[in-house]
């Protein structure tokens, strides 16, 4: 039933929902606010989990980090489902165009053989690391506290999966199924990859969601992306006649730049909350950061050889400087 309505202006009875008015005052709320604040149940939880009766179903005390209000961890990108998917849909269009550009012109076959080999060796096993990242972010979403923080972790998890899939396509394009098989073999057995695999598996048994956030999103990815996609792909491979690889990893570079804004905002807020939080962040970022740098060294050595030490050292310094700006000295 559609009736003909004249355009009339009616005065609204209220501007927004009560829980948003309490937070932001009585004014219209954004869709980000409506979709993110206070939508997780907080009170009068009915039952203790049978999988761990020491926890509540939603339990802020699973992590050692203490926040007066976990909803303080807002996302400067203001991603809720809509803005997130629309942004990624655009990026995947670019990625698709890049892949078909490389494919249709046969650029993969024009790569210098040695460079192609290095690209396969450095990049393909990372699809497994990205899958580990996916599981870790799915964990943080599942057990972290407050929708505003955990929804962004779920988006991040899906991004990790997308990256694992782009890396798999890159492997197929450059090395066919053998390329993927060899990469997996290396991930499982080669000495080069064991420190990183161990790192990822160690993360899989960390059940403090915020420590895991630091280990995976801050420390590991904070060093891996600049080293691999910056130094190896955009630097080394491009300088040696394999710049088309960089087209296939543009998504990862853009993604790292974008998501870092969110991660930094989260860290900054948590560190500013209390000295105890700051101390924990320093401990975790220091411990996991040092391990991540050591694990990444043999991987980038495959490309950078003698320059790898210096590259890792410089990126570690940049990582420390980034954290220092957020109030976390390591």
């Amino acid at each position: 039933m559609q009736i003909d309505l004249r355009t009339v202006s009616i005065k609204p009875q209220r501007n927004t929902f009560d829980h948003l008015a309490r937070r932001f005052g009585d004014k219209p709320a954004s869709r980000y606010q409506e979709g993110s604040y206070d939508i997780q149940a907080t009170e009068n939880l009915h039952y203790r989990p049978t999988w761990d009766p020491d926890q509540q179903i939603y339990d802020a005390s699973i992590t050692k980090i203490v926040m007066k209000d976990w909803y303080a961890l807002k996302d400067p990108r203001q991603y809720y489902y809509n803005t997130y998917t629309v942004a990624r849909a655009r990026q995947q269009e670019t990625a698709e165009a890049n892949f078909s550009f490389v494919e249709s012109r046969g650029l993969a076959d024009m790569l210098p053989a040695e460079m192609k080999e290095i690209a396969l060796r450095v990049l393909v096993p990372l699809r497994h690391a990205a899958w580990g990242a996916n599981m870790n972010n799915s964990f943080i979403c599942g057990y972290g506290y407050a929708a505003i923080f955990t929804q962004a972790c779920m988006f991040h998890a899906m991004d990790n999966l997308g990256i694992a899939q782009y890396l798999s396509r890159l492997g197929l394009l450059l090395g066919d199924t053998e390329g993927l098989n060899e990469g997996k073999q290396a991930w499982l057995e080669s000495d080069v990859w064991q420190p990183l695999r161990r790192y990822v598996e160690d993360c899989l048994v960390v059940r403090d969601p915020f420590e895991l956030f630091v280990a995976q999103n801050v420390a590991l990815d904070g060093l891996l992306y600049p080293l691999v996609y910056g130094r190896v792909v955009d630097g080394f491979l491009s300088a040696n006649g394999a710049s088309s690889i960089a087209m296939l990893t543009q998504f990862m570079n853009d993604w790292f730049g974008e998501t870092q804004k969110w991660i930094d905002a989260v860290l900054k807020t948590v560190a500013a909350e209390s000295e105890d939080n700051r101390a924990l962040l320093r401990e975790w970022a220091g411990k996991w950061g040092a391990r991540a740098a050591a694990a990444l060294l043999p991987i980038v050595q495959q490309a950078l050889e003698g320059n790898a030490d210096e590259a890792v050292g410089e990126e570690m310094a940049a990582f420390k400087a980034r954290l220092a700006k957020l109030g976390i000295e390591i």
Binding site: T7, H46, Y47, I57, Y80, Y166
Partner: protein
């Protein structure tokens, strides 16, 4: 040599496998039980996660692309709806009660399901299963948000929507859906999948969404129709996931059968009670009705559910234990529910009303064996009291069912004149139940259900101590605006005035 020629042609299935489950590996630095600590304690045996059949094959790039297209359309429509005062298109303001209940009771469940599926996306040791669960996790975040956004404009003009987040945690009737979802969240991963993935998404979702969305369409609510349609293809994926899950469990080991059957019995009954709210909305709250709850249940419950359980019979699954009792309750449940809601209307953040003559004629046509005999007389009585200026209200403390948390207002399956009431003694305390189904659920896991938060009891404890005004403040219920009879309500007055303004010719 031309590498592109030498390349193997990969089939879709094979390619999807490389892009998903081939990403995983067997951990060696920690044993699997440490990495996946929760998959064994429920007793479900899985011998080979590789046997999992992907219920759908969607890579992330395709996911982003399709979902973004749907999102753009959805927000374009609800923007226009808000801009053009689309709310004035609804049949009349009584319809809003259905939306208020939806936002308070169902949307928070969507968010909760998302959180649960994120956990499953991590806890299952099979990449295929994990990926499917993760996609559902992010979809459910979508559903919660699109629903809040679609209903946000109604909140600006009508009462009863403004405190949905407070109601979710504190309002007495919201503990029905809350305890349902909390129950699933506190269960192990396999039970969660039976509870939400199978029972809710596969067996019951049609009963929730089809009536709700067609009700919205019949009553001119484009915003709700739009979120319903937009969620449809997500739901299709969720249903195939739920079905694959149950088949996978049953195919992995014959010992899984009794465990799964027990969960099906439990979650069917919990779901049936939960959907009583939807049925009540269909029978009593839609100014323009689509079909009765009985008719919907016959089509989507009995016919579809019957076919499903026939299909599952080859695994040894039988229809849920409460199936027959549900059938017997069909002609009574919504009437009993609505009468209860009406008598507690001082404490609901939506309006209820005495059905009109026309409504009652429809109800007796749809419920020929029960309405005139049992329920019309009660409505007539309530109407008389109201006309005499002494409206009927039950301010007393009803006994709540310890399992489903509904006041014990339902009757015996075989005797509609006797209230059904069951009691169980456990560790020196007496617990009350609305039905055999709810009693059985309790008896299987008493340690779980004794923890249930009973909202009516809370009113009479500190700090509220039975102070109704304090309670209303605590649940953010605006007395005289959000609650009470529709007749004479602010929503009724405002809607009429605005609609007149928009349809008059001056």
């Amino acid at each position: 040599m031309d590498m592109t020629v030498a390349k193997k042609k990969l089939g879709l299935k094979e390619k999807y496998k490389l892009l998903t489950r081939d990403l995983g590996w067997e951990p060696t630095y920690h044993n699997k039980d440490e990495v996946f600590p929760y998959v064994k304690y429920e007793g479900i045996k899985v011998h080979d996660w590789e046997k999992w059949e992907d219920p759908f094959r969607l890579t992330m790039d395709a996911y982003w692309k399709y979902q973004a297209e749907k999102e753009r359309k959805f927000y374009a429509i609800i923007d226009a709806h808000a801009q053009n005062n689309g709310h004035l298109n609804i049949t009349d303001a009584r319809y809003l009660s259905a939306l208020k209940i939806f936002l308070q009771a169902i949307s928070p469940g969507e968010y909760c399901a998302g959180k649960g599926f994120a956990r499953m996306g991590r806890e299952f040791p099979g990449v295929g299963t994990q990926v499917a669960c993760q996609m559902q996790a992010i979809d459910e975040i979508r559903h919660a948000q699109t629903q809040i956004h679609a209903l946000s404009n109604y909140n600006k003009f009508y009462n009863g929507f403004h405190a949905f987040a407070d109601a979710r945690d504190r309002m007495w009737y919201c503990t029905l859906p809350r305890s349902f979802f909390d129950d699933a969240m506190s269960a192990g991963p396999f039970e969660f999948m039976i509870a939400i993935g199978f029972s809710f998404e596969y067996v019951l979702t049609n009963l929730l969404f089809v009536p709700f969305m067609s009700g919205a369409a019949y009553n001119g609510d484009m915003a709700t129709v739009t979120f319903g349609f937009s969620a449809q293809s997500d739901e299709a994926r969720h249903m195939t996931l739920g079905l694959e899950c149950i088949k996978f469990m049953l195919e992995q080991d014959p010992d899984n059968l009794p465990i799964v059957q027990n969960w099906i019995d439990k979650w069917f009954w919990r779901g049936f009670r939960l959907l009583g709210v939807v049925g009540t909305m269909m029978d009593y709250m839609l100014p323009k009705r689509v079909m009765s709850w009985r008719e919907a249940f016959e089509i989507y419950g009995i016919e579809n559910g019957g076919a499903l359980f026939k299909d599952l019979a080859r695994y040894g699954i039988r229809p849920p234990k409460g199936w027959d009792d549900a059938g017997k309750a069909l002609d009574h449940m919504t009437h009993q529910f609505m009468l209860a809601l009406y008598q507690y209307q001082f404490g609901t953040a939506f309006h209820s009303w005495i059905p009109s003559e026309e409504d009652m004629a429809w109800l007796s046509k749809k419920y020929p064996t029960t309405f005139d005999k049992y329920y019309r007389p009660r409505w007539e009585h309530i109407k008389k009291l109201k006309e005499a200026g002494t409206p009927y209200a039950n301010m007393g403390l009803a006994k709540l069912c310890q399992t489903c948390q509904i006041p014990t207002v339902f009757t015996e399956p075989d005797d509609p004149t006797t209230l059904c009431h069951r009691e169980v003694e456990y560790k020196g305390e007496t617990y009350h139940f609305c039905s055999d189904g709810c009693q059985h659920i309790f008896e299987k896991e008493p340690e779980k259900y004794i923890q249930g938060w009973l909202p009516l009891a809370a009113i009479f404890q500190a700090p509220l101590n039975g102070d109704l005004g304090a309670w209303m403040e605590w649940v953010s219920l605006a007395d005289g605006k959000d609650n009470g009879d529709f007749a004479g309500s602010e929503d009724q007055r405002n809607f009429e005035a605005w609609r007149n303004q928009a349809t008059s010719n001056q």
